[in-house]
Amino acid sequence: MKKRFNQLRAALLFAALFFGMGCERELEELELATFPTNAEVFIDGFPGDLNYAAFGGSAVGAFDVDTEVKYAGTTSMKFAVPDFEDPAGAYAGGAFFLTGGRDLSGYNVLTFWARATQAANIDIVGIGNDLGGNNFQASVEGLAINTNWQKYYIPIPDPSKLTQERGMFFYSEGPENGRGYTFWIDEMKFEKLGTVVAVNSGIFNGENLTQTVETGATFRADGFAVFNLPTGINQRVNAAPSYFTYTSSNPSVASVDATGAVTVLDAGTATITATLGGEPAVGSLAITSTGDPILPSTPAPTPTVPSADVISIFSNAYTNVPVDFYNGFWQFSTTQSANVQVVPGDDIIRYSQLNFVGIQFTAPTIDARAVNRIHLDIWTPDPTALPATFKVLLVDLGPDGAFGGNDDVSHEVTITSPVLQTQQWVSIDLPLSAFPGLTSRANLAQIVLSGDLPNVFMDNLYLYNGDGGGSGGGSEPTMAAPTPTRPAANVISLFSDAYNDVPVDTWRTDWSAATFEDVNIAGNATKKYSMLDFVGIETVANQVDAADMSHLHLDVWSGDFTSFSIKLVDFGPDGGFGGGDDVEHQIDFATPAQGQWISYDIPLSDFTGLTTRSNIAQYILVGQPTGATTVFVDNIYFYRTGGGGNPTEPATAAPAPTRPAANVISLFSDAYTDVPVDTWRTDWSAATFEDVTVAGNAAKKYSMLDFVGIETVANQVDATDMTHLHLDAWSADFTSFSIKLVDFGADGGFGGGDDVEHQIDFPMPAQAQWVSYDIPLSDFTGLTTRANLAQYILVAQPSGGATVFVDNLYFYGSGGGGNPTSPVAAAPTPTTAAANVISLFSDAYTDVPVDTWRTDWSAAVLEDINVAGNATKKYSMLDFVGIETVANQVDATAMTHFRIDVWSADFTTFGIKLVDFGPDGAFGGGDDVEHQVNFTTPAQRQWISYDIPLSDFTGLTRRANIAQYILVGQPTGATTIFVDNVYFRN
């Protein structure tokens, strides 16, 4: 989730370990017409010419040669996988490669023996990583190893391609459940095994993709091959695109080269297919080109801001700062980019296939404190009517100037119609104050553009100072400070138009180092301090008793400060300066945002040295650069959050949980023993996190919350037996609150194709009171498994502006009794548009004819029942049931997903098989294809919406004549399932 800022840093770190330099060089080798064909990679040492390089960021010392543990001979290769967050490197990974090449075309598989100190799945092992083009990389993911020596196979997708291969072996493996371990590999060699046989292969993940694009679009194929191993099981191998031979059905519309790079050349349609080793591969890409790109006919408006006020990132009107890239080609980004001109000399960046694109400037980062606006011009040929969006995200690296470190801040602004317009230049010009989550901007490093417009032309991307007024930033605010909203009863005001102020002796003591003026900003009285080093403000004559107050508020604006501090001094019970009872505390704010009003709401508890506050007499403001700073100040007041006003934090603790501990899995609560939580704020979160105490009760406080990730990756929660999620939340300002649960699936790892998640939104939650959420897990319909819960994501609005307190986060079950055996609620109503659906059974759509919902060869009992007014199929004593549309076979070629809602109180496995009768439209005939998808340990007692990509039915290579749907449940013959909403969709 939102990890896209951390683009893969694929730089390779050479560990410079060279082996077997003693190989004798013979004269013939200098003129080899062909490459050597030796098979050995590691038997009891390395052949000459083999080098090892550790991958970037990996533990460089992970690989070593071991003489103690070995499968045969005298030595083995040992790989020490580090612990999570090991400072030496986060994972083990590297490549074994030759300086010259080998002819491996006479082999068909790399084999080796391996064992480990524990059962584990090696993330990836393979061949063909030559630290160069990796043209013939082939790899196996998730290789299962255990403590026994076993033989492993990496089949070569097409050996005839490997006539001069340099990449002998590579691997990458991270910790298992956060902990490192060791594995060994021995007797690694290439072999020609007749017992390894090809089953099939595919490109584009075996899917038949369709894309509508403009001429000039590009795509890249990816591939896989499946082999049956000598053990009788199938092994999927990721195959580099160059292994395949490609064909375009219409080369004048789309060309494809030997590396699988597809280029759209002209209007029309073309389909890309491929073969591997002469055999057809499944999967294709059907391209419809709408023809030449629609380009802007006019250039973007010429900027008029004086260059002295501008930090330009992309514009011919200014000198641009150094930019790392205008397209980072980050993982999952499909965005292509090109420079175009509609008039000579005026470059425009054309982004196409835009989903998101990163623009980055880190050498150096941009210090944007002296500017206050961002500008960019965009032009799109795409429809811009609502709800189409275009988003601009700014990322600042924080004081450490580096990615991560818990100080990165960001904010995204979404732009919609009517600002967005089709086929005309739109100037997006925003104050940086519109990015309130960007709380610092001294190290601005990335701008990320995203949204719903696949084609965007961009020009004149720059930051500038919108106050005009020469270089160095604006000198004074044009807007008044925000008007306070807290009830007067809860406020002690020193200076504000909103309240009756207490008497202040002076706004500038004579020992101050600053010039003071009372000024008027947009009709609002404001204090202006210039040439500020520090200024003292005093209430000695009428000391302020802030004992009942909780916060100090002040609004500050400066065009030039680089740091700002405030000190409070309490004169103590004697009410006089000195006397041994004075206390004070200063709070510093580094790199505050310039050129915008900043509202500080500082808990008085942060003034830790201020141990008394009944006699507050001095307020000292400090600015840097020393003696050269101008600061405007407004709305200085103390306030309290309790007692009928508008509190900003809870005065009472969250309600104490009452459920029996036996039925609870608690992540955070004083009432239960909590399970281990990795982090209460992942580093990809957009929020500030504190552990706080509310009325003596521990709570989690998230401020500036956009979203926060909480993780239990190392100790995943099995909530299979739980029925509800409980969470207490308190916020004075949230307008919407959401919670998302993410289950990592049976593989227990992020990704892997089995992750499921679901988010539930609570719009307009009650503010300023504890809200107890008790959410049936069945409401998380997308969360089809919950045995490996690993992420809990809290989201609030206003984005980046909400403060939420959280307590008592736990799952609970009903703990026996009352476990329903049939659903109470109807299945969720489908939302896909009817035009995109072929429905077999649903109240939401017109269904196609179905011959039978239970063929006579089924092993199940069928009843048509009603659940909460909704027609539902009930299958009991289920082993398997056949559903048939033989008489009216379904053509699902235009569909992408098969959807079915299922509820069961007792199933432990659920399977769905689709059968296509093939072109002959009849059972048998040699053209029937089928595939079954199985779901182990599905969630019980809740509606599960299976929305299965048809590409997952890999054996279902045709789907124009789908005639059978077989549902399978376990325990065999003893399962009852309820089924609703059976349809194909796209």
């Binding site: 017992t195 000598p230 009788g232 005939g925 040699g926 029937d928 079954q932």
Partner: protein, 280 residues
Amino acid sequence: MKLSNKTIRGFYLLLLVVMTSLALGLSSCEADQTQNLEERTWRVVWSDEFDGAAGQLPDPGKWTYDLGTGDNGWGNAELQSYTSNPENVSLDGNGNLQITARRNGNSFTSARIKTQGIFEQAYGRFEARMKTPYGPGLWPAFWLLGANIDEVTWPQCGEIDVMELRGQIPDKIAGSLHGPGYSGGNAITSDFALENGRFDSEYHVFAIEWGQDYIDYFVDDFLYQRIEKKDVPGEWVYNQPFFMILNVAVGGNYVGFPTSQTPFPQPMVIDYVRVSERTN
């Protein structure tokens, strides 16, 4: 093939291979070597070439079925239910019969066809050209049972396994003989493994040549096992008519159970079955 207690048979395999190899003076893994066998000439008396339209069941004039799950999974805790559905047994339209094991969740269907009551013969050459299924838990076989099985029961009737294969070892078949006093785990058996290939990737011809006091086992006309009357530790019951069986079992004591990684469906593709009488 028929009864349980076969898991322990594995312990005897190696020993028996050695014994029979010594007896014949050849090794089953040296497939390249030349064999000098007495000349035998044959005349085909029964065959099925499996010509016909795709989807047709096999010729009912030649084959009948065993259906269902038998007693205790046909005596071996096999998992499949045998059917006579075309999805489990039908011609492929290219001159082959396909017997296909299918998975439905954790249940399996397949087929077992036989010539019992239709064609039964003593002595001669019994051969089939076919490609096997593969994958853990798949157990294809071509075998014969004594036609008097319903009168004397197994193993008194005798059982000649021309070939059977464990899907997790797709490069090795076994030929066996079960009779009174030497059945189940004590059967006389020998393995034959391809040096660098698999029985599912190419067609191979599996045959026995059966005389009054010997049975010779062949793969692709290579003799890998001869069992003579004097070799059996019990009665020689192979002087009466036998019928043929072709089947694909799933799971069971001999082969172990399919795993989540076993690919399905799995067809056994049979080009022909022929029976010949000796003419010299």
